[in-house]
Symmetry: C2
Subunit: 182 residues, 2 copies
DNA sequence: GCCTATTGTGGCAGAGACTGCCAACTACGG
DNA sequence: CCGTAGTTGGCAGTCTCTGCCACAATAGGC
């Protein structure tokens, strides 16, 4: 059901753009009432970004599956690999949808906010990996580390999208991390 | 005029919360029509986050004022100092307003999106600082670096807000950067 | 087979954020 | 005194989203 709605919505979004497409159009396309549509997706943005939360969970479990003595950056990099396989992250099919993310401000803002929620999922694991090396900050360091990893992931993804999928996503990510840690 | 609106709005926001306060209430408080209010602030969020764009410009000019041979991280750290002085970044007066940022999802999302715009402002300068060391990526490395610096700034700011301004913002920032570059 | 509890659905009315349009008012230079 | 430009107010309308209620379908207990 959610899939039906999402498919129809994506079709319309790609035709007319995200903002130009109304809820009424989508509900008519699927054949349900607007009221019911909002029971499946609480927000218009959720139709596109709904599975981003599940993707975060996938990264979390992937991160916890990594060996406990692996360094934070390496473990995160490995955990992010599941996103390449999971079509949820790049929101299904094609590059066009991903490009829409970066061109539509409201979508981009919502995406950033949802990705920020990943922090709460990933930070605990990184916190244990960091150990209690320097006693001062409790979770600040882990938070910063995960936030930067996500920033690198975002940079790489954006570059990948803008190049129409030509460049190697993992390679860009590694370059980004290397530049940051210079 | 903008200041009048912003002041009245802040008062109401702190009393009732951001989402619970309507445009009608604000316009009545200031003594203008809702229609005119939207001529000064295009969005409800802009009433709170409007000066975030100017703050980005301030950081940009501060960054360009740093010596050209200074390392990217050091230059960014120094440029961020202007935010501590500029009341625009922490949106004026008190911690309560800043806390509202982190508690209101729509505000947080808008804030993240506006901060993302800082990338375009700061990346060119960092790009020249990095030089053409490794020829591959054009601006990917600079983008990642600035994005991570902003992530560290955000982490430090959030910690500062949640501690009610007890901790030293600059110190948290340095810890965050150190953790990232481990 | 029947009654009931749960669940999904549709329609309705309404709030709230915004936009386009037009009319009125104000300020300013000629 | 007049024309012009910029600011404002009001009106109507769109669109997203919500609460409420009624209706149908389905599942489970007897």
């Amino acid at each position: 059901m959610r899939a039906d709605i999402a498919d129809a919505a994506m079709r319309l979004f790609l035709e007319q753009g995200f903002e130009a497409t109304t809820i009424d159009q989508i509900s008519k396309e699927v054949g349900i009432s607007p009221r019911s549509l909002f029971r499946h997706f609480g927000t218009k943005e959720d139709i596109v970004l709904g599975n981003l939360t599940e993707a975060g969970q996938a990264v979390k479990t992937a991160l916890e599956a990594r060996p406990a003595d692996e360094a934070p950056w390496d473990a995160l990099r490995a955990a992010f690999e599941v996103l390449a396989a999971d079509p949820a992250y790049l929101s299904g099919q094609s590059l066009k949808i991903s490009k829409m993310f970066y061109e539509t401000p409201s979508l981009r803002a919502c995406q950033l906010e949802k990705r920020l929620r990943w922090l709460e999922l990933l930070v605990p694991n990184i916190e244990t990996r960091l150990g209690a090396d320097t006693g001062t900050g409790p979770g600040h360091r882990a938070r910063a580390l995960v936030a930067c990893a996500l920033a690198c992931l975002d940079t790489a993804t954006e570059a990948w999208v803008l190049s129409n999928g030509q460049v190697d996503l993992a390679q860009i990510f590694d370059e980004a991390v290397a530049a940051v840690r210079s």
